[in-house]
């Protein structure tokens, strides 16, 4: 029953977002074009790298690196399309005090806040990412198995969960520190490192990108899954890790709300 209700709510929110997006029709086209631009731009460092080398970090050749970029693009589409817009909205609401209205509604505040705004044109990113991956496989002259694809999608979902949880953590911080306007830039900047297979990094870097900011989880592992080279143990660990991270983020969010309602005016 509650699931149905929240499902309906999600539908209403998405419709409102789509309508808001339609208000700025020219932007729609511009943003779509931008997605394509970024797709091309993202390939530049890769091209520079593979001009000199055939393989990096042991076994990452050009097509497999392309797969990583493909997942990166898809995930970026999800980040910019479904996560960032709400983040900007919420931080703004906290600043203006309109967030109070969110707390007055008899629905979970985290849900309301996460679904408040979408950028539908970002679906171009998702399509572009898929296209890149397909191209990479064409170049490799093979196709992934159904199991590999399923596992990759599961890992993509857990990557989205991790990204979303990171966002919740950041927004929770916004309650304490009211002015955090450049958050989206922060996210994009940090996330940018995810375009590289994590094995490329050495030592401390690799540790940071696997455990502290789990970028490895987000793009490298789904890529390895669809390429058929991920160990099942690693995959399961990542899924579990994502769930734990999600629970952590929710706990912090609730703490932040408790604090907000006791310490603000």
């Amino acid at each position: 029953m509650r699931a149905a209700r929240y499902g309906r709510l999600l539908g209403v929110q998405m419709r409102a977002s789509a309508m808001t997006a339609m208000q700025y029709r020219v932007d729609f086209l511009i943003e779509g074009a931008m997605s394509l631009w970024w797709l091309g731009w993202n390939l530049i460092p890769l091209l520079v790298l593979y001009r000199e080398r055939d393989v990096i970090a042991g076994d990452w050749d050009f097509p497999s690196a392309l797969v990583v970029i493909g997942w990166f693009t898809m995930l970026r589409g999800i980040l910019e399309g479904a996560i960032n817009p709400s983040l900007v909205d919420v931080v703004d609401r906290i600043r203006t005090g309109a967030f109070d209205y969110t707390l007055l509604k008899p629905a979970d505040a985290q849900f309301l806040v996460s679904t408040s705004r979408f950028a539908p044109w970002r679906v171009v990113d998702v399509i572009g990412g898929v296209a890149l991956i397909i191209y990479a496989f064409v170049r490799m002259d093979r196709a992934p198995s159904a199991g590999d694809v399923a596992l990759a999608l599961a890992l993509l979902a857990s990557a989205a969960l991790v990204l979303y949880s990171l966002w919740i953590l950041v927004v929770s911080a916004a309650f304490w520190v009211v002015r955090l306007d450049n958050l989206t830039y922060l996210f994009t900047a940090v996330f940018d490192a995810a375009r590289w297979p994590v094995q490329v990094f050495r030592g401390a870097w690799r540790f940071v990108f696997t455990f502290v900011i789990p970028l490895a989880l987000m793009t490298t592992y789904p890529a390895m899954a669809v390429l058929g080279s991920i160990g099942i143990g690693t995959a399961l660990l990542s899924l579990a890790g994502a769930l734990v991270f999600g629970a952590l983020a929710r706990a912090l969010w609730k703490l932040a709300i408790r604090n907000y309602t006791s310490a603000s005016s």
């Binding site: 000199e52 080398r53 002015r179």
Partner: protein, 273 residues
């Protein structure tokens, strides 16, 4: 007010503007941390290229790991010192109608913007210090030039770089007068900047035509030029020549910025916020 009177007023106001700007910058501690974390791209690149270099017998296209370390750390420092968020600020003020307040002052808005952003440079120096220390203590410091004249020219280049970056961002900000969601344009700018300024990848590693094209853009002089100077890639004569070109760009951008601003403000006053 006459132009002379306005200029005098601007000069008199500057110390106060600077002081207030610094206080403002200090007031938002968390924003500072966020901004600091935003400039991590060179570090990621550093991680990437040093690994790649290590794999390939110590070098990637004549760049050793030390070369990369020196390049990216200096890039990080210069970028942090010269970067600012005036573009975002202008966009915000136009959207929310706050620009009207700024226009009412007898000082040209460029001065007030510049003052408040320049005032944060001391703070940026503090932030940059750890990286400078790391560089100074690592083996990569051998990559830096030891020539005091070049170092002095480097300082001049950084100053020119700051002004050029500021003016370019202000020019982009002016586009907010004419285009509804100009932040998309900013993204394009960031992408183009990252390539042509050597921020993402050192210019010598890019194809020849990219390098040649970069020479004709202000981007090269916003970042690559000071960085390459400190790394000792040029002799004094070359640097002076490049410095001249940098300031030429400053002049050009100033003219464009002023013109665009005036047109934009006229439009703003006609249509309102």
């Amino acid at each position: 007010m006459t132009v002379a009177a306005r200029t005098l007023a601007s000069i008199r106001a500057t110390p106060t503007l600077l002081r207030v700007g610094l206080a403002e910058a200090i007031a938002y501690r968390a924003e500072f941390v966020v901004w600091m974390l935003t400039s991590t791209m060179p570090l990621v690149m550093l991680g990437l290229w040093t690994s790649v270099a290590a794999e390939g017998e110590g070098a990637f296209a004549q760049f050793t790991a030390d070369d990369f370390i020196a390049y990216y750390l200096v890039t990080l420092m210069v970028r942090n010192l010269t970067g600012n968020w005036v573009l975002w600020q202008i966009n915000d003020e136009i959207r929310r109608g706050l620009l009207s307040m700024r226009l009412l002052r007898p000082v040209h808005p460029f001065v007030t913007y510049a003052a408040s952003h320049f005032a944060s440079v001391p703070l940026r120096c503090v932030v940059v210090l750890p990286f400078a220390l790391i560089l100074a203590l690592s083996a990569a410091r051998a990559q830096l030039t030891g020539d005091p004249a070049l170092i002095a020219l480097f300082a001049a280049a950084v100053l020119g770089s700051w002004i050029l970056t500021f003016l370019t961002l202000v020019t982009l900000g002016c586009l907010c007068f004419f285009i509804e969601k100009s932040m998309a344009l900013f993204e394009v700018y960031m992408g183009v900047f990252a390539i042509f300024s050597g921020y993402l990848i050192p210019l010598p590693l890019l194809p020849g035509w990219v390098r040649d094209a970069a020479d004709w853009t202000p981007f090269r002089y916003m970042l690559a030029f000071p960085v390459e100077t400190l790394l000792g890639w040029y002799d004094r004569g070359d640097v002076l020549g490049l410095l001249g070109r940098q300031w030429l760009f400053v002049g050009v951008m100033l003219a464009i910025a002023l013109g665009l601003w005036r047109a934009g403000v006229r439009r703003f006053e006609a249509y309102g916020a």
